[in-house]
Amino acid sequence: MKKEKADFITENVTTLILESISDGVFTINNSWRITSFNRAAELITGISRDEAIGRHCWEVFRSNMCEADCALRKTMAEGRAFVDSAGYIVNSDMREIPIVVCTSVLTDSRGKMLGGVETFRDNSQVEELRRKLNARFQAEEIISRSPAMEDIIRNLPETAESDSSVLIQGETGTGKELLARAIHRMSHRHQKPFVAINCGALPNSLLESELFGYRAGAFTHAVKDKPGLFAMAEGGTLFLDEIGDISPGFQVRLLRVLQEKSYQPLGGTKSLKTDVRIVTASNKNIDTQVADGSFRMDLFYRINVVKMTLPPLRERLEDIGLLVDHFIRHFNLLQGKSITGISSDAMKQIMRHPFPGNIRELENMIEHAFIHRRQGDIQTTDLPPSFEAGSEDVEIRRSDTSKTRLKHVEVGVIEEALRRNGYNRLAAARDLGIHKSTLFRKLKSLGIQLPKIDGRTKPLKP
């Protein structure tokens, strides 16, 4: 009598425990039919106990593991427990519910197998957190896990399809041209040309002939017709970088083209129709330029139908790791190396850097590291000297203006190129991809002192 009472209490306690836990638990007999189903199992699967009991477990559980990788099947075949098998089930709303499963054999007091027991945990919250941590937004070549970039990337397909003029604003090196190319590639114009021009790099007269082209005889040496970039980009996208640098006179000319969708080549007498999508970019704040009168308001409204502002890298620090990985993969492919990653010390040093040159600077830094390393992880010694500055120095530089920071970087990059090329100015200029006279001008304007040796001087033989 006492034993019966004790058994009743034990069974009741077990039931209470199973009912109160948040993990789903069900048992099956040797025919794979469900024999018990706790409350959490009801909640997770959305199936009532009454409906579940007596059914084949796969009809209730309908998991991605059922058919090929059933943990219970393995448990019953091998007579041992399996823990933490991950998968998902699909409920009657067709929703996937990520789960983690543990299974073990169910035996009677004599060790005879009665079936199996499976506990499963709803892993939705963990998966959601994992998704948020690993989340990255990607469109074409633009990758990010920063909330600052989320809106831009999310709205990119609609913006691309809209065919409206787009103004991209952002500091130098933030990826304005990359974004413009992405807009073009995602638009219906993607099979037509994408033509880019840096308006700040050319004087007005040259910019005009570059954009609109000219007729033979328009000016001295114009011996034959030359189509402009508008003609070359016909049907496609014309990207006008540094639009904030164009003169007021040229602003008027451009406005007319945008309004009338036609232009006249230099020396021409007839207007040519144009079907080109205009995407503009500037590292200056065009709103401020409009306010101070240096940029025409009517042109601003023409180009500013959709405005996208790219945040600087210092405002999307969470992207640095992602971008470093991306550039390592990129340069491995490009240079046929097998760099595996970056050491934690080197990563810390990078994270402390203010990146006035933004993503372009980070890319150059990884490229620099590739010169010093063939395989393994990138170390602190592989980073450019400008990255070796301590955190205090970095803090000082954080408070600098963008102009001063850019100067710091320029000095660092030029000095590094000179050292690398034994102070041979011509070789350093080639290394930097600039003309030697540009290098000399930079040396003078940045006040970089050079040693007496110039790289051409051969050392005297003893």
Partner: protein
Amino acid sequence: MKLAITVWEDRISPLCDTARSLLIAEVDRKGVREEGRITIEADTPAARVSKLMSHGVDILICGAITESLSVLMKRHAIQVIPFVKGSVNSVLDAFSRQKLKNSEFQMPGCGSGRKRHFRRRLGNRRGRSQNLFNL
């Protein structure tokens, strides 16, 4: 009209998204004629849909299915009859007799009105303990 059924051994596969075998049948006035079984090696929903399309499938009978795959099927004009259970022969027979909606072919929790009823009942039962074991 072509009919496809996701099969696992001699029964309907529990989950369409991971089913590895497909029965193809021709449906006409004379009834349903089994044409054969094919293996699905496709990993992605798009590859699964394209496999079905390559066999000219109009109707798919399956067990559970994720919303993303179901939407993709519908987008490609494949009618999906989901949450079906039972042996392949009985399901084919029920389909030809238009009896697939019978509860014996419905996966648990998927019949009409069952879910609402379950939720209401679950709410009323909160806090009570019941004997779980039926061994």
